[in-house]
Symmetry: D2
Subunit: 495 residues, 4 copies
């Protein structure tokens, strides 16, 4: 994928600013529910959360936060930037408590503001509640207006606050926080994988479609929840299973219980979790990410072959698919591009001219390996086409005789309302362009995509029903309420 | 006053942590209502607010914030520390808008947290609302519980959020924001001087007792509001008048209007605004602070004379009163203590032993002036007695033959529920001790206070009815609701 | 004095950029020589140095530094800004050693660079040497050229490095460091009060003229040296005496010894140490600063009376002199200007227009006290005249009927080569203007200075011979070498 | 290689603290010589240097710096940490000049001090000189003592200052800076690749052995020099050639000239530049790094085969060699370990127990790919063995049936005096252990190294004579002077 400004793209979370809408909340979540909620002077739950989030950093680099629960007192630290920018040892030492939740957030360009950082921590009639989620509601505006009509006030422009408000309002007439969450899930619509922390319990839940992943592990200190299984591995915990779509998981006094929301819809996991967001070593809904990517590469090799000498991956996003393409085609998989591992939040002063070569600060061709070669270049996708074009040109400068671009994702053509940051349609290079036109645009000898039918089949054979909305425009749930976003027109901005 | 950790005490705001209660909000507020609310790309209102707050910095050093209104979009920056720690040019440049409000906050020791910083900015059914106030509600817990019973959620432990909620809830059935403020003033009880900013208006209001000051000025860019008149002077604006107790002032399209809350109670301005908090060049409710302090010093000289050679002030808090004492007694007013102007948020590593001399990092006796002299030492008050004791001893070390301590404030003996940070009664040195016992405690030859009857008379003759609660225990309004603070027991802490 | 940008002016150190010359080193120095030089794991010497420097902060706010000696290993931390900006607890904890020296530095406007911060720490054939000094050499260029001719390299543009080089070169043929210092003192010319630290000794020395002050104290941990006695007081040490002009003081193994440089010239202490730089509670060369200032005020009252109602000081620089003027004239000394104690390193965004009122951010007239009054306004000096003019106008705006400006310093008319930051002559308002013309320029009803003859007499009667060069142009030592500064033309700048 | 704390190991520079010796200077250098040296207000040379260093960041993360030459005035900024920590846009904008040099520095563990950061900038009799180098002198102590005997002083403990001093001293009797550099090269001994900047010229030079790389490129703004060719590519410049061992390259007025030092010894490029330090896309002395690594992998496959199912690389250090091993052996090259791209200067709070799993914060096995497989694990080297052991165990936990460790470097057994950070011999796991004993130590089924004869042959066939000292103990130059390091015993430490 084409994000020159990124810190790494081993798998990436995305925020999104859909036309006329508040900020989408694409991200990574983590939680650890200590086996007891007695007050503690130690920050171990926060430290484990920090480590878990560290393995989810690829899902969001704009902001992050951790909230710890110390016998009902919630201490929360949020800030802009990477975990290493926001947290130091001294800060973590102040986050006492036996349970904690955390969040990393991907933000849209331009705005590096604080108001929508998570977790959100609020006080209500039954005590405190902290909440972090990944996803995007499609009826956020409707719900917010209704709450405001009843005298509600909002401190943020985020879905998290709407979810928290909805849970709190249902809590009044409910016997328990989990019952309130269940009722709230009947009200909020869209994509969400959430972890919430009440004075005595931790709740994890996924929307009935299961748009966003969420999994469960067991650490020696208690049950853990994470967007991806790689975070479970990183803290030395054991992977248990995924939270099911529509499921509510409750941990209280070290005991894990499950509750069904009773909401039934067809499942539609976001295919970009496999294509791009997640780390290759994560297992999402039972399917390994590296495996899925290699399968995409294999099918791509069969469906969209090219007469060439070598396969070259765009690192890191195209690595697994290139392996699959190579395995299937029999063409050698060669390192043709080297990535600067320090690209990140760095200031890069442009010099006059040669701006087109700027991509080389990030990716440098390995001339000896591509010179005189016909190259099949594999990336996960083409979005705006500008970076793809620069990479193709860099390879040609390095002596590549031909460059055949292959995308392991089908072409993006429709907006996403479930948390993926797709640019406006007029910026999507695939909209209204044939593969031949696209090849012309990015100066490649050919361009070809994996078909979305093939993608669906690959994932289906692996046991996962995916959401194809961004490829086909067929949305798995009603999105008409998503259009009215006037309630977000005058935001509050925290800097 | 005795705060070794302070940055200066030209006049000081105080936060307070009353027994079992959330944080009190003692502070300084400022607002400028541009003559138009059209969106603007310039941050002039924020820059003027910064300058105004700069002159109110003595009222609070723990946290500060500015919110600017740009055609209904509110941008807000809050942080811990002095203005110079939180704001730089780049930050102010992002605070676009023709109107702005700001706040400096005094916090209690230990907690340097962020959650109660002001202004508070919230979105509600009629748009955004930003609010900053100085004071303390006595029915905060009651109101918070009631709001939470209706599904309300709180992000802070502050009175500001309760006030904002109350206004927003009244706004639904009201024709205007000012009507909502008027109704809210019938509900909230206690001490408050507030400035609020709606998409099109700025509102300033004072509680009917008029516990805390608030004044109006006219700047070339629009009407301004400030806790003290020195901030009006500092920005080059013209002082107009004070907001009256119970008055609501509205600025819309550059026109100032006044509305009466209709709430009538006896007036009871906090006497510590004259004794200690405010800057000597400020005029509070028509009475100059320096004038009031000199009067206190004069009466003190008549009521509590001492056979001595010189009058020495504890800088800066005792300067004006010492002048009055000197003028009345005819004894020369001599510089006997020099204050380090850089004492502030500094790290001071204690060395072993001699800890009692630490006061000399802050105050150093001027030996040549006090050696061999009988000194009348004037300060505004004695709270815990420990610093007073160290100052007396430092003067003796420097050769003073006698030290007679005189306090221009009457003895503190009762808790304040209106925003003054009085320690627990068991730490108040004046509780249960005679002046003679006190002299013994602080190693002075004599100790004497201004009587609270005299203080009342001085202020009354100047035209101001003061609150004497902390001296007499007679509270001007019912404080029974202030006792139940269970709702604040499990706070949310932001770090 | 007129430095709107200052953090406080209780007494001020000054750097200077003389025409064509490197940076002058006006500053404050401090040192503590532990009673043993055995390696230690504790940073107590550094912590005491920090506290001592804290009381010298008024002598320099641009940069500061501390070097600690731990058995011959020197650890040094320098940085730009106030002590509280450069040092925190963690940093001081790394400065282990039983002896330490420190420095605060005043810099010229514009440049906030690091290269000339002190102490300087160097390694040479006999081990390490750290050095900090206050003053300015008049043969710096000559010495630097000579050292460079012999293959020497310079890392800074400072006199400190020249002094260090000279000592090190003399050290080779000397039996001891103190002998090397003595020989070096025969080579370097100008103003310097220095503290130096070798692996086993601490050396303090003053130039034979004694331009800059330096005093000795005794702390429980060892002997201490400081530019002003207030720093001795602040750390709880006992004042012993001043280092004599031309004296070399050595501390080794807790024993203090003295050595005479044998250099004899007439003494000429900088009069501005009394007039402006030093804190009023300091004793310089046996004379109290507050005392000297009050004497100046008294003589000024006799020599330059005015028909007026009140005496008003410009705080803080005019406070003591105003007291003296009041005492002598019998006119009441009234607080007519209130200073904002937080003015410092703050960002102040100018608003359009009314720029002339900006002085009110710093100084606000106390209208009630000056309205309708004929005011004698006392400051220590008039340099450029612009701030004086703004203060006079502010007083008139506040209702003062007349304003008579009195300066306790004689008029500046000549450049200083000994460490005082005097602007170019064409910016010195006193050059070529009569008192009447000056009154016209600053809009005062009259202006008058203390005559330099009177100043000389006052100080002489107190036992101090002062340098009058900046008033009379008669320099106490040959300054011809100071003119050639070509060697400093291409500086190295560290940012 | 085994550095859990690293930010990435695409190629790594190393500092070294040899027994009893000052800090070695392993690093990356960069320089751009503008076509004119006229003073300029723009910071383009510094900005290009920043970009060049950015591509050399893998060679050093402890400290960095840039010095710019503006008509003879040198502005220099140095600091601890990554480029993004030390430089922001504002800082680079102050580094005006048409030429600039820069440096990234790798430091030894524990010390994150400032005193040895480069470039070093000094003033001498002919103007200013800035210098940065990569490498380590073997006669540093001898030279330093000699300079100190002549009255020289040192501000750092670095070889750079010794080199600068030596050049400056030779400059006095030389007609030009390049002649002085040539003479200095006859005096200094060891490994160095340096760039130096005089008021009008830039000089680049390599020691006669050519231990460390240095190459030349042409940018539209002038000639550039860099440790690795990837930096030439990154700034959009054209690669020209390498600086030859013993060559001095001079750029003046945009013209490049070459001069021979006349020093002839056998060539001995450090083999670790190919094995580990350099980026795979760099060309060192005419040989591609990726190519060399793949060749090592191929020979390793032939020499040290294993009966296994798959080849797995330790990312990133083993990637190229694994490719070669796979190509030669015919076994598939599978992603079996995934690296967290955000590991860096992060705070990681250890939790109790399970510390052995900490490697998973950095490297996580991809279970699906290794489960049930016999794995050949390829890394560039084994140093202490502890990380290798943890990786082997992680693969076993993930189901690997067998793990055969193969190192593409021969075993380290001897200290390096030319800039590689080799631990003490007693920590080198290869010292005194057979491959079988090593397998036992790291819990692998087998361990095997590339033989150093094979490595020598591979590089020799590619046209490069390498230094084999760390493998064989045969040093290409006399290192006896390197033993006496007493002159560095009492360092100056800057924090």
């Amino acid at each position: 994928m084409e994000y020159l400004e990124e810190t790494g793209d081993q798998g990436k979370g995305h925020g999104i600013l859909l036309p006329g809408k508040g900020l989408h909340e694409e991200c990574g979540v983590f939680g650890i529910a200590g086996d007891t909620v007695a007050p503690t002077g130690d920050p171990d739950a926060a430290a484990i959360t920090y480590r878990g989030l560290f393995s989810l950093q690829h899902r969001g680099q704009e902001a992050c936060g951790i909230a710890a629960n110390n016998g009902g007192v919630i201490t929360c630290k949020k800030g802009q930037g990477l975990l290493q920018d926001v947290f130091d040892e001294k800060t973590v030492l102040r986050l006492n408590g036996s349970s904690a939740i955390g969040h990393v957030r991907y933000g849209t360009t331009g705005g590096s503001n604080l108001e929508n950082a998570q977790p959100i921590a609020v006080s209500h009639i039954k005590g405190n509640l902290a909440l972090a989620h990944n996803g995007n509601l499609v009826n956020a505006a409707t719900l917010r207006k209704e709450i405001e009509m009843n005298g509600g006030i909002f401190h943020t422009n985020s879905d998290s606050e709407i979810i928290a408000y909805t849970i709190v309002r249902e809590r009044i007439g409910s016997a328990s926080i989990e019952e309130a969450v269940k009722k709230a899930m009947g009200i909020i619509k869209g994509a969400y994988s959430l972890v919430a922390m009440s004075p005595r319990k931790m709740i994890a839940a996924r929307d009935p479609n299961g748009f966003r992943p969420l999994c469960i592990g067991r650490h020696e200190r208690g049950y853990v929840f994470a967007s991806e299984s790689c975070a479970i591995d990183a803290i030395g915990a054991d992977f248990i299973r995924h939270v099911e779509p529509g499921e509510i998981v409750i941990v209280e006094d070290g005991v894990l219980a499950s509750m069904d929301s009773g909401l039934t819809v067809s499942r539609s996991l976001c295919s970009f979790e496999y294509i791009y967001f997640s780390r290759p070593d994560s297992i999402i809904q039972g399917v390994g990410v590296d495996y899925a990517r290699r399968e995409m590469g294999k099918v791509l090799a069969r469906e969209k072959p090219a007469d060439a000498d070598i396969v070259v991956a765009v690192p890191d996003s195209g690595l697994s698919a290139a392996q699959g393409y190579s395995d299937e085609s029999g063409l050698p998989n060669i390192t043709g591009l080297v990535k600067n591992r320090y690209i990140g939040r760095t200031f890069i002063q442009p010099t006059q001219g040669r701006r087109e070569r700027d991509v080389r600060m990030k990716l440098n061709p390995l001339r000896a390996n591509v010179n005189g070669k016909r190259v099949i270049l594999i990336d996960d996708s083409i979005v705006r086409g500008t970076t793809s074009k620069m990479i193709v040109e860099a390879l040609r400068d390095a002596g590549a005789k031909e460059v055949h671009f292959r995308s392991s994702a089908p072409p993006f053509r429709y907006p996403c309302y479930f948390g993926v940051d797709v640019p406006d349609q007029d910026k999507l290079i695939a909209v209204g362009r044939s593969e031949a036109e696209l090849a012309d645009f990015i100066s490649a000898d050919s361009v070809a995509y994996l078909s979305h039918e093939s993608l669906t089949r690959i994932m289906s054979e692996a046991g996962v029903d995916i959401c194809k909305a961004c490829f086909s425009g067929e949305y798995p749930i009603d999105i008409t309420e998503a259009a009215d976003t006037s309630v977000f027109d005058s935001p509050i901005i925290a800097i």
